[in-house]
């Protein structure tokens, strides 16, 4: 069987909406694209723990503290499924970690913004997890089986987080004037970075074409961004908050909300490492990994000793 035949067969399976499983033949480019995307997604989950972890110690009630801890733990869990999904494609977790620490691998640029008030815990849940859901729901139908299945569970939890974030903001908006101001300020800071989460405009998105063709990705960046815009505006109205976009207006003809120009210069800078917290986030991840080295080594050494003792006991017996 020639390579060409295999490629053809692969594309036929994609066309028939069959799931590709780890042991199936797949083109190298498909494998590489998936590893890149899944690793990027996994890194986003674990880097994404950091801005919220910044408020665990200061959560304003015991109920909020417990919910925040549980939420961040969910993100760690998402990271774990995703690293495992990448491992099914032959990637090594240690290598993926190195790529995160050296800056070779990217993660969602939104996590390079600082969390400055408690309201940011609400805005991250509402906007960031809200945007993530729109990105991820189509991934439940992604052509690669392990990724698609991981996304089903991830999306359920994200949807819970989104409602939890909204509820944090709703409480603030129904609270004192200072609390409401805190909520508006948070929306002002998180709105545009959230809109940027869908990535560059379709015309400028280098990796999209192949991903669409192989059904890793099913909707374009701009389509998803528009969905987010349309879903979020009425929610902002319920909160009584103003989306910080002077160009925002309802379009009778298209039936969508038209939004203003995104600052792509800012986006590109944050992606390239110049966001307010890029260095801090990578440093925190790298320190956790480096400080944990002796712990991982101890676990490995102990496991090896145990194995050895077991086999020695067997030999004696």
């Amino acid at each position: 069987m020639t390579i060409l035949n295999l490629e053809e067969q692969f594309m036929n399976r994609i066309a028939a909406d069959e799931k590709i499983e780890p042991k199936d033949w797949m083109p190298d480019k498909y494998r590489k694209t998936l590893i890149r995307q899944i690793a990027q997604h996994a890194h986003s989950e674990i880097v994404g723990m950091l801005p919220e972890a910044n408020y665990i110690s200061r959560a304003p009630s015991l109920r909020r503290k417990a919910a925040l801890l549980a939420k961040i733990q969910d993100e760690a869990g998402h990271g774990l499924y995703l690293y495992c999904a990448a491992e099914t494609l032959g990637a090594e977790r240690d290598t993926l970690m190195d790529e995160l620490h050296t800056g070779k691998a990217k993660y969602s640029s939104i996590f390079n913004y600082p969390t400055l008030t408690w309201a940011d815990m609400g805005a991250i849940g509402w906007l960031v997890d809200g945007a993530a859901i729109l990105n991820q729901v189509p991934l439940c139908k992604c052509s690669f089986g392990p990724y698609a299945r991981a996304m089903v569970r991830v999306c359920k939890e994200e949807s819970f987080h989104q409602r939890q974030g909204f509820e944090i903001l709703l409480t603030l908006c129904n609270g004192t004037a200072e609390q409401k101001q805190m909520a508006q300020d948070s929306l002002n800071r998180w709105w545009w970075p959230s809109m940027m989460m869908f990535g560059p405009n379709d015309a400028d998105s280098p990796n999209s074409e192949y991903s669409m063709k192989t059904k890793i990705k099913r909707f374009s960046n701009d389509e998803l961004r528009q969905r987010f815009m349309d879903a979020t505006k009425p929610q902002a109205d319920i909160l009584g908050l103003t989306i910080p976009d002077p160009d925002l207006k309802w379009n009778e003809v298209t039936g969508h909300w038209d939004y203003g120009e995104i600052n792509w210069e800012e986006f590109n800078n944050v992606v390239q490492g110049n966001g307010p917290c890029n260095k801090l986030r990578v440093k925190a991840r790298k320190e956790a990994w480096d400080n944990g080295k002796w712990v991982r080594e101890a676990a490995t050494a102990y496991a090896a000793k145990r194995e050895q003792r077991k086999s020695e006991t067997k030999q004696v017996a």
Binding site: L69, I72, A76
Partner: protein, 249 residues
């Protein structure tokens, strides 16, 4: 404040302060699986604290909420063990602190299952399942580090040596302890010491660690005389409630 409220707050404060410390690890663990495990323990002990604060509010009868106790008391009013407010240090210190505490609480909750106070017994019946798991987790890590590499052995031995002085307090009864013991609500803490030490000896032997000997034990946490760590910890914990008095979150 009556003895029973004090005793219940002592149990609640232990959970809260430990959860606060464990929460600092979230996102910074040595490997993702252990990050998740430690957050699990934080959530469990925080959950236990909440049950106890809620019950303390009922017994106290002042119309307070769980958050009033957690967020609006000063450092002299907190009754947690000194052990639990100690900084996380490295993984070895965090695990050793956990092991000393889990070992103790497993014994306490086992006795509290038989408490003459039905609510305390009910909370204990939930908590014991959690603490059994915590003790397994922390014991296994003590062994793994002790019998792991040279570096891990040295680090975990250092952790034991550093934290040992805070373990004496676990067995020093306060007035509220004595009052509770006399009513059959809580165990006599002095009676738990032998079994606690036996388990330390057993786990340390397997971990090839030396049990620290003959040092002066610190105490005071249970009656509100803390280390300097607690004030800073509470400043952080209570920041929003203190800055915006009366606001709901």
């Amino acid at each position: 404040m009556n003895s029973k409220t004090e005793y219940i707050l002592h149990l609640a404060d232990n959970g809260l302060i430990l959860a606060q410390r464990l929460g600092e690890w979230c996102g910074h663990g040595p490997v993702l699986e252990q990050d998740i495990a430690l957050t699990n323990i934080a959530l469990d002990v925080l959950g236990q604290a909440r049950y106890f604060y809620q019950y303390a509010a009922e017994v106290d009868g002042q119309g307070k909420s769980e958050d009033d106790y957690a967020y609006l008391r000063g450092e002299r009013e907190f009754k947690n063990f000194l052990l639990l407010e100690q900084p996380n240090g490295d993984w070895a210190h965090t695990i050793m602190r956990q092991f000393f505490y889990d070992n103790f609480m497993q014994l306490v909750y086992t006795k509290l299952l038989l408490s003459t106070d039905k609510q305390i017994a009910a909370i204990a019946s939930k908590a014991i399942k959690e603490v059994n798991y915590h003790l397994k987790f922390s014991s296994e890590w003590v062994i793994r580090m002790g019998d792991g590499t040279e570096e891990s052995h040295e680090r975990v031995q250092n952790a034991a040596n550093t934290l040992w002085e805070f373990t004496g307090e676990l067995f020093v009864p306060t007035d509220y302890d004595n009052e509770m013991a006399s009513q059959g609500i809580a165990p006599d803490v002095t009676s738990l010491k032998n079994e606690w030490e036996n388990r330390v000896n057993e786990i340390f032997a397997e971990a090839t660690l030396q049990v620290p000997q003959a040092i002066w034990f610190q105490s005071g946490g249970k009656t509100g005389v803390h280390s300097e760590n607690l004030g800073l910890l509470l400043t952080d914990l209570q920041y929003l409630q203190r800055t915006y008095p009366g606001a709901s979150w």
